[in-house]
Amino acid sequence: MISQAIPEASIYQPRPAKLIRTEAIAEREKLFEFEFRDGGELGHKPGQFVEISLFGIGEMPNSISSSPTKNCSFELAVRNVGNVTSALHGLTEGSTVGIRGPFGNGFPIDKLKGNDILIVAGGIGLFPLRSLINYVLDKRSDFGRLMILSGSRTPQERMFVSELEKWQERRDMELLETVDRGDEKWTGNVGVVTTLFPKVDIDPQNTFAITVGPPVMYKFVVAECKKKAIADEQILLSLERRMKCGVGKCGHCQINGVYVCQEGPVFSYAEIRKLEEAI
């Protein structure tokens, strides 16, 4: 006896998608472009993620790197760190994977509209941010200034180099880059990503700072944003947690009472302040 209706489909059942293109991004990172076998669309928002399955190996969460303005196909950028990721790196074009999602809240596009956007990317934090950047560029007139601060550990570990170069050339956006450790060829900034903050001038009232990067980075970035008087509500972070189900059941991604896969992965600092274990 139970009042809840039994659903027709399993939330754990992925949709088959075909790998149509791969592209090396950096030494351990690769971009994968997929199309659903059934011809359907993913229908995501920037900042959302999917669960990607390689049956026999496992399933893992991965942000969507392409902008929803790009129709039909979608892209995932993946760093090879373990089982699923390394199996993915070994896939050839034409292979089938399973996709569930999109999951999570994504960046609050509606709130961002009309505002300046300050993006702070650390390492592969650029993967989910690329979706937003390309979205903003595709709908350029909907948004104010677009500023990107991007930090990599070394020049070799810069992600999406050719895109960075294109962005560098565009007049309708600003891109500042830095590396933790330079080499002979590197002529740009050296230092962690927060060292770029003094180089941008912003209007805190109308700016949303959006940051994604390794866990250690967040505290420092938030401090810089606050120095620039950006309100807590306008500082946005995307968090990584272990995830198994992506649908708010398995408990792994829980930070205090919130499920990162449901209420996140994007949070404002105002929300995070109340979450003891978030950053």
Binding site: I6, P7, G56, I57, T96, R241
Partner: protein, 347 residues
Amino acid sequence: MENRIIEKQNMDVFVNNLINSDAEVVGAKRKDGKYAFGKLADATELCLDYDLALYPPKSYLLPPKETLIKFELGEELEAEPVVEAERVILFGVHPYDIKAIELLDVAFSGTNPDINYLSRRAKVTIIGIDCLNPNPNAFCASLGTATTDTGFDLMLTDIGASYVVAIGSSEGEELLGKYAVTREATQSELVQRDEQRQKALAKYKVALSMSAEDLPELLDKSWDSPVFKEKSEKCLSCGSCVMVCPTCFCFDVQDDIALNLKQGERYRQWDGCMLVDFALVAGGENFRRDSETRFRHRMYRKGKYLWERYGKLGCVGCGRCASACLAEIASPAETFNTLKEERRQHD
């Protein structure tokens, strides 16, 4: 709610009739000096006056290990969801366990309904029984889970010579009509039932020193309490407390493949926030690395997080965790009371 009476001497007939029906009948049986739910082969195996079953009936809804998907690798990937559900009658479930199932129901339905859980759930019939001999570690009376008006198909109360049976659903009514010899309950028998319940309430040895509704607020103020560190120093991170808990439902998902490397299955398996690697991610970052943070997380999940999420506490006071914890630290009541005491001294 309609109430009927089953005379004690007629109980075995009812149980055996159910056993002979198309459903699997599960009830508390003796096991190594304790009680545990198990499939009944005969009414004589069933214990209705048990204090606490070692494990909650959770595993009939969320088995320790369960296949979610079967797949076959090849040119074209084939993957099919697997939904297995047998008809099960849980016979003699205590109110706190029913309350816990109500929580699971909420967690597994809602925006992302879980077909595996809900399919099993639809085939489970719950015949409850009031707990008249509470376990020494239980504190249901403080949480309002010692009795229940909802969540069952039938609810029995032992009033001496007979059982009062409250009918909670049409399905329960049907079972009763088909398989049991019953009669109408008299007013005095219903009074007796209330007396039995009252008497049982007085038997609880552990109590919360505050009302359940105050827990979230208490926890709100207790994040930095030293009690978490003190207690968790003894923690073995053995997971026993979460494994035996009727309201814990976290799981892990993994793939297994046959030796031909073609057919395989994706399964889920119980997991728990008290285990060391629960929040570990690929880069080596562990978001709850030390036992203090895990211990605190569990307490908050019990007393605050689930309440805020589902409107139900994550603890029903059964006392199983306290019984299972060798380090003798797992009882939420104990921690909550200590926190309350700290607050009192602080204010």
